[in-house]
Symmetry: C2
Subunit: 347 residues, 2 copies
DNA sequence: CCTTCTACTGATAACGATTTCAGCCCATGC
DNA sequence: GCATGGGCTGAAATCGTTATCAGTAGAAGG
């Protein structure tokens, strides 16, 4: 008798006095098995401490039970929450998570996509490093479904879950305008990604509908990291006629903006309003109020997994796009966060 | 001819006019192959766009190329950074990351450990939910090496990478004492995990060596989450003789403490000093200074992977323990972070 | 009673790589 | 010239599961 825990399906079959095929049927609940046999097999499984060899199973079916998740960086709290949401949903369905950080690097991303294809994962959820350049082709070829989150993939269209970026940017900007600001700067991630492009459009729309000029000198675009936000803010503060409010295009940029304001001294910071994206746990601790468009991140992850599961079950409709509404939240010192009075995003 | 990208090792062999065994030898760089043949095989591989079937490979070798990572929660910034460090090191060595959140739940963790064993991962890095209860036995039985990070596993001893918790807690407490505080409270995660137990010990040690009484009413212990930190802080503020300084036992507790202080009003917050663990990117934005013991998280992840890789390569020494020193940092408004003047941790 | 189902079961053939073993060829040493 | 050995190669077994196909037994229907 094999050592406990090392038994194969044949050992179980032998002990139960049936064939391996029957044990497989019991295991997968697929195909008819008499109650009597089913019980004998179960007993044999328990007695031997048998655990199916998942690698052999994957080998036979040529499909693994992993969901590949390709994001920019787990250290970005937005993606962290996304990972968590996806993980919970995935494990609930019997899948586990293969994690990759692309670092916004199209080359690195390409390698990971190829890797996922080689690994025959059951599905992939990704946030493309570039709308134009990212290609999911290797996954398509292998018949592996893909869902894009937070950003579109134009080169290889797939199901996509997005924030309503136009609404969030427009409403945040409207909020700043309603507070009396006229010179508003925008610091945005690259327009080569969906959020950068759409949030710029929302900003411009709000400015124009209020009849305010859009000063190109007040629009900064770059890699959406903290360092860029900081550097852009320093540049803006150095202008002869600096803006009185900032629209920050993502969470890291917001952090950079706040730090730059900090470095310039508290007095100045109080004169400048900041609007950003994503609610973060420390925002209620800030010395000055800030308004943010909170993304329904958990829901985004769940919806992405739902779309993926549908595809994995054979759904073959043309690619769909899910657009979720943001929720505007003002974080104020000595006050619990409250939904913004105006500019609540509509669907 | 098979479709491009779907070729098997036999297709390659056929096209190169050699046997599958030879192709395998070329692929793995294992065993002698003449230069001539090697080139022909390479050409065939390129021509067919052949990619080895990783599942088949894992099946044959009964070992996958995944590193299992079992942590409490990716949304905790400490683990987020750890994930990132482990991931970078793992991918550099040709391994990829399987991520699980145990949520400090021993049962959930048990299931994940079993899953990793079933999956025949190459190695596991974990942060045990409990020193006493967590068991890595299923992994041992399967010959899978394990490294524990941030916490010890007493039931099944393994290589372990820890912060020098005694030093960090002692030095933080010393710092508070040096600033003139006499009534200092400690809010700590459960003593059933390593960090909780050792940080309590460090706190007590510093108090005793300063000849200060350790008031049991000022020591709060519980689940190391934000909600607990907040609730404990509210309790302390409600005492007739509240403490003048707080020693917070982990990063989430620190956040909870700060929020509770916030809710009680800024004036009070200014009278109370806070010392915590982990440096977080937003700390420089705080209205009041805070001192923290920064953990060398990236190094912890790297060291863990190094230990794991050594085991995977057959190292069979008795379990080792790596203890890394913290770095004390004061975050002050309008000032870049600076190393604390006193209490710098020693090795 | 014979046919036709249906329910159940077993034998067997994959899946695609690695590994073992044996064999061949040629150079070297005696 | 013959044995020895090393470099190179191929045939075949193997890993553990699932899927296909055929076969058996008993029930149902005519």
């Amino acid at each position: 008798m094999p050592a406990r825990g090392k038994a194969t399906i044949r050992d179980v079959a032998c002990r139960a006095g049936v064939s391996a095929a029957t044990v497989s049927r019991v295991l997968s609940n697929h195909g008819p098995v008499s109650e009597d046999v089913r019980m004998r097999v179960q007993q044999a499984i328990n007695a031997l401490g048998y655990r199916p060899n998942r690698i052999a199973r994957s080998f036979r079916t040529q499909r693994s039970n992993f969901i590949g998740l390709i994001i920019s960086d787990v250290e970005n709290p937005f993606y962290t929450s996304l990972v968590r949401a996806v993980e919970d949903t995935a494990y609930a369905q019997g899948y586990s998570l293969l994690l990759c950080n692309s670092d916004e690097d199209v080359e690195k991303e390409r390698a990971y996509i190829q890797f996922m294809a080689d690994e025959r994962v059951a599905g992939v959820i990704g946030s493309p490093a570039s709308e134009q350049e990212t290609s999911f082709a290797p996954l398509f070829d292998a018949g592996i479904p893909v869902v894009s989150v937070d950003r579109r993939s134009l080169r290889t269209p797939v199901d996509t879950v997005l924030l309503d970026n136009l609404a969030s940017a427009r409403d945040l900007t409207r909020y700043l305008i309603a507070r009396g600001h006229r010179r508003i700067a925008a610091i945005l991630p690259n327009v080569s990604i969906t959020s950068g492009r759409e949030r710029l459009a929302g900003f411009v729309q709000a400015m124009q509908e209020a009849g305010l000029p859009v000063d190109p000198a007040l629009i900064c675009e770059g890699k959406g990291f903290e360092a860029f936000g900081m550097q852009a803010m320093h540049y803006l503060l150095g202008l002869s006629d600096p803006p009185t409010a900032i629209f920050a295009g993502n969470n890291l940029i917001t952090l950079g903006v706040l730090k730059a304001l900090q470095e310039h001294g508290l007095r100045m910071a109080e004169d400048i309003d900041v609007a950003g994206h994503d609610e973060m746990p420390w925002m209620s601790l800030l010395a000055k109020p800030i308004i943010v468009a909170a993304q329904p991140i958990r829901e985004m992850g769940q919806r992405a997994m739902d779309l993926l599961l549908a595809r994995m079950n054979g759904d073959a409709q043309p690619p769909r796009e899910v657009k979720l509404p943001p929720r505007l939240v003002v974080h104020q010192l000595n006050a619990t966060a409250k939904a913004a009075a105006c500019g609540e995003a509509r669907r």
